[in-house]
Each structure stands twice: as C-alpha cells, then as structure tokens.
C-alpha cells in the first residue's frame, strides 16, 4: 500500500459507506417500506472506490442498474441518494429516477442505467466531448459480465477505438449476469478483457476484491488514457454478496457459496488486513470509520423517512426544457 494515511482513510470510509448504505437498504426493503427494484452493490465496493478515488468532478462515469456504489464513490450525496430511493421530492433526482436512475452531473456522474449495456455508448460520447476539449479528462463506463454480452458494448468499444476517445471500459466480473453464471453466458473466452483486447484496446486485469489492486491498476490505466493513447479496458474479478435484485431467492447459488465469499473475498476485510498488517491504520481507527459510515447512513434513512413527498402536479415537470 503506497497511499497516504489520509487517502487510505478516505477510501475505507467510502467503501464502508457503500457497504452500510446497501446493508441498510437490504433490511429496509425486506420490510416493504420502500418500493421498486433495487440491485445492491455489496461485495464490489473496492472496484467503485478504487476507480473513483482517481477522479475529479470533470472526469465522468456512466453506471449501471447496480449503481449505488458508483454514485457514492463518485461523490453523490448520501442523504440525497437515500431520499431518491425513498422517492422523496428532495431526492437527488426529485424522486423521478429512483434506484436505477440516480445521476448527478455536477459530480460527473452521468447516470445509473436501467438498461444493461446502454451506458457504454453514452460514455463514448462523453469521452469524445472530452477529447474535443483536450483537457486530459476521461469517462469511465462500468459494465458487468452481463453487459459485456450486449451488442451496444461491442459497438461502443469499437467506436471508442476508432475515435480514440479517452474512454475506459471497467468490467466488473461478479460471475453472475442476473441469475446466470459467467461460465455459461460469456462464450468460449471465459474472459472479458480479451474481448476488449480484440477490439484493439490495451487491457488490464485486477482483483476487484482488493482495493490496492484496483487502485494501483487504475493508476496505470488512467496514466495511459490521460496521455492521449485512446481508450482502454480493465476487468476486475469481484463478488456479488446479494441477489440480482432484492427479493431474489438466490437458489442458483452453491451450498455455502455466499458464506465462503463473505469470508474470503470481502474487500473490507482484505483492506483491513492489509492496512493493519502494514501498520498504516489500526483496528480501532478502522472500527471508528466503519461506525461513522453506519451512523451517516442511519441519519440518511431517518432524513428520508421525514422528507417531503412529490406533489402529483409535478408528474409532467422537466420532460422538456422548453414547452
């Protein structure tokens, strides 16, 4: 670990915030208090944070239906997001988007997306915009092993190569596209990065459960792309702790699988072992950070419960800028 103490604290805090946010939602959704489809990011926190810690507000990201982690890592407000998922008019998108459509363009977050594979073409457009501006900024599109099978992702990879756009395709391989295994659905290559390589991109691979691996890999990827070498791709092997959506019975999981990945592949545990092993942070400090994140999320939940609801008259607002 070559990060400063401050950087480590911030990264751990962000990962803990995502974990607490998702765990809390998991509990609340089970009670029926909030509506809609929710896809939790638990298990993959090291990817979102390891990527986004390198970015500022002018760097853009395009996210997925499993987008809470990306949003939080990119700096979206915890309470604004929770209120959005609650459907409040004070939510980040005034209750119009919900879990699958959270966006905050001021933070460079161009939207979670309910359509698997839809994000990559949008990211290429954003990256072309950055290339025109010539400011060394990049756009990152997160895709899973599900989206890597969509034609839109193929089109976007080729278009990024052709236009030399500073677009980075981050593939989070959590081994499940919805309820179907990676081994079945991703053809013969058994590897996403090699697909990107075939499109003419330089590719990297990393361990998505190890923050250090993600962070250091992304340092190299970003150096390469910011230098004007065109797009790049990186595949992170990671784990999904919960189902495809909340309510998914997960009867397709192996016996003891979830316990095993929580025991051996939990990015928070791995981070803790590395940080304490290198004597950079101690357990007490880490516990405090974790508790502060849980407290923040709890405050966001309470604020969301008390937040105002949208008015029926607002239903047709903001369809257009000009009517």
């Amino acid at each position: 670990m070559q990060l400063s103490r401050e950087e480590l604290v911030q990264a751990f805090r962000r990962m803990c915030t995502i974990r607490a946010f998702e765990e809390r939602l998991h509990d609340v959704i089970a009670t029926g208090e909030i509506a809609g489809f929710t896809h939790l990011y638990c298990g993959q926190e090291a990817v979102a944070v390891g990527v986004c810690e390198h970015l500022d507000n002018e760097d853009k990201i395009v996210s997925t239906h499993r987008g809470h982690g990306h949003c939080l890592a990119k700096g979206c407000d915890v309470t604004g997001m929770m209120k959005e998922i609650w459907g409040s008019s004070e939510g980040l998108c005034k209750g119009r988007g919900g879990s699958m459509h959270i966006a905050d363009t001021d933070k460079g977050m161009l939207g979670a997306n309910g359509i698997v594979g839809a994000g990559a073409p949008i990211a290429v457009g954003s990256a072309i915009s950055q290339k025109i501006d010539g400011d060394g900024k990049v756009t990152i599109t997160f895709s899973g092993d599900g989206a890597c099978n969509q034609g839109t992702t193929f089109e976007a990879m080729n278009m990024a190569v052709v236009t030399k756009a500073p677009c980075i395709f981050v593939f989070e391989n959590n081994h499940y596209s919805e309820h179907t295994g990676f081994e079945y659905a991703v053809g013969t290559s058994k590897d996403i990065a090699s697909r990107a390589e075939a499109f003419g991109m330089k590719v990297w691979r990393g361990d998505g459960c190890d923050f250090t691996s993600v962070y250091e890999t992304m340092r190299e990827v970003l150096e390469y792309v910011r230098a004007g070498n065109g797009p790049a791709a990186v595949e992170f092997d990671t784990e999904r702790f919960y189902g495809h959506f909340e309510g998914d019975p997960q009867n397709y999981r192996g016996e003891g699988e979830i316990d095993r990945i929580r025991e051996t592949r939990d990015c928070l545990k791995i981070f803790r072992e590395q940080a304490t092993g290198a004597k950079l942070l101690d357990d007490k400090e880490l516990d405090e950070i974790q508790q502060a994140a849980i407290d923040d999320v709890e405050a966001a939940v309470e604020a969301s419960r008390a937040a105002p609801r949208p008015q029926p008259d607002d239903v047709t607002k903001d369809v257009y800028v000009e009517y």
């Binding site: 005034k94 119009r96 966006a103 949008i122 457009g125 990256a127 950055q130 089109e155 278009m159 369809v319």
Partner: protein, 336 residues
Amino acid sequence: MAKMMYRDAVVSTLHEEMERDESIVVLGEDVVGGMGTEGGPEAIGGIWSTSTGLYDKFGADRVIDTPISESAIMGAAGGLALTGKRPVAELMFADFIGVSLDQIWNQIAKFRYMFGGKTRCPAVLRMAYGAGFNAAAQHSQSVHHILTGMPGLKVVMPSTPEDVRGLLRTALRSDDPVIFLEHKALYGVEGEVPDGDYTIPFAHARQVRSGEDVTIIATGLMVGLAEAAADTLAEDGIGCDVIDLRTTSPMDEEAILDSVEVTGRLVIVDEAPPRCNLATDISAIVAQKAFASLKAPIEMVTAPHSPIPFALELERAYLPSADDVEAAVRKTLSYR
C-alpha cells in the same frame, strides 16, 4: 430571397450554425465518407449530400465519421449532449431507429426527467425517411408516429427548403432532444428561401392554402399532395384549408381546432400505416375537443397496414396520392 434545394437547405444551415456555435458536433455514417480509403476523406459528404464540406471546414473533431453502429451513434450523441456539446447525429435511414431505439427512447428522451430536471440533452437526431424510391420495406418508412408518442422528444417534419432552414435553426438552438425528419423525396425539391437568420418556432403550423369548406392536415411529403388536391378542388369552387403541421411534437393543436371550427370537415393525410398514427391521434383530439364543429366523419388518407413493397406498381399503391386526398375531400363533402 434565393432559390435552394431542400438538401442544400440542410447543409447550408449546418455550415452556418456550426460557425455560430462551436459546441455543435456532427456525427454519423459516411457524413465524411471515404475515411480509410485511397480516395481520401470527403469522398461522400453524407449519402444525401447533407454534410458536404463540413469536414473540410470544421475538421475531424467536430465532424465525426462513425462505423456502422447506430446504437453507438445515438448513444454517443446522448453522451455528447450531456457534457455540453450539441451533437447532430445522422441516422442514414429513419428505419434504423430499429437498431438504436433504446438510446433514443430510453436514454436521450428521458435523461432530463429521470435526472430530476438537472440536465439538458440538446441532441438533434437527423434522419431521412419516407417512401417513393423503391427502397422497399426497411429503407422507406415513416416513423414520426412512433417517435411522436415518446415523451421527451420533439419531432420535426419540414416540407419545404424554407422550413428546413427555419426549423433546423430552432432545433440547433433548442435545449431539448429533437428528431429532425427529412423526406428523401424532398431532398431534390427547390424552393424560395428568405434571407437572414430567421427561425421558425415549434408547434407553429403553416397555412398552405386557405379555404372554408374542408380542412386538410398534412406533414412532410404529404403536404404537396394536399396542395395539389386543393388546387384541383379549387377549380370546382371547393375551398380547402391546408395546414402543414411542421412539427408533430409539440403540435399546433390550436391551428387544427380553429380550422375545423370553420370548415366542420377534416381530412388528415399521413404517410404512416393506419393504426396508431398521426391521423388517428389528430382524429381523437378533434373528436374530443371540436366534436360539435364536425359536420361529417373525419377522413384519413394513410398508407395501408402493410410493410412497404419494392415493385414500382406496389409502392405506388402503397403511398397516398393527390387523387386519394381529393377523393377523401369529396367524400366528406358528400356526407349528408
């Protein structure tokens, strides 16, 4: 005033607007043409010659020749528009919304709403539409009725070079996504074009002929049929109020209702197939809001409920004609 072809109205307006506004970026298949060939770039300038000279003048950053990847073209337009650019993305044929509709319908049209009004998505999506070229079932369709029903999109269907220039300027200065439908059979048509930097607002219909007996509503290529029918009918002393809607979303409802209030008889001409099209939409509006003014059933002149055929005779049978419009007018006048 100057004479100009419809296609030249497109390309000249793009030239002028790109000079005026640096944020405008053009992208699409063969909008430059000849990239990666011995013949060099600028071999094509768009298969409809609607981007001629743009690459030479504005360069590769602002005139982007894309692979044949319609989803990526539309998606990139969305990404450009979300990040401060004004993309003009060309779909070579409007029929290709079939392979790119998610980006148009689920993404571009909805960004502003889904994101709580925080964003603008000023993308202009130009597409050539319409039958009459023996281009058969996948290169001839009218798609305005499909796109008009999608909240978040504005849909423009110019019928003259003058309107192309005025409406395209408005589209390029709008902060909302605009579908700009150019009829293939109109590209070579010449018309008078006013001088100066004029714009034509959306939802502002054009009165093509004025008359008190029957209202005829049309868009795009159908406007010419309505005009021709009106001229023939005028010889028999029948006065037709011909209205070119110019835009179908937003739509100038007031112009329709005002005219029907005077005439009490309505003929709608639509190049789309008959179910759930613009004609049925307008019929519903008139039935709901001007029922008491109607003196006869509403007549709809549309394409049939079939794919577009290839053979000359079949395509002629498919497309509405001026004779069809004239017959519809006579039918509504003969009612009681």
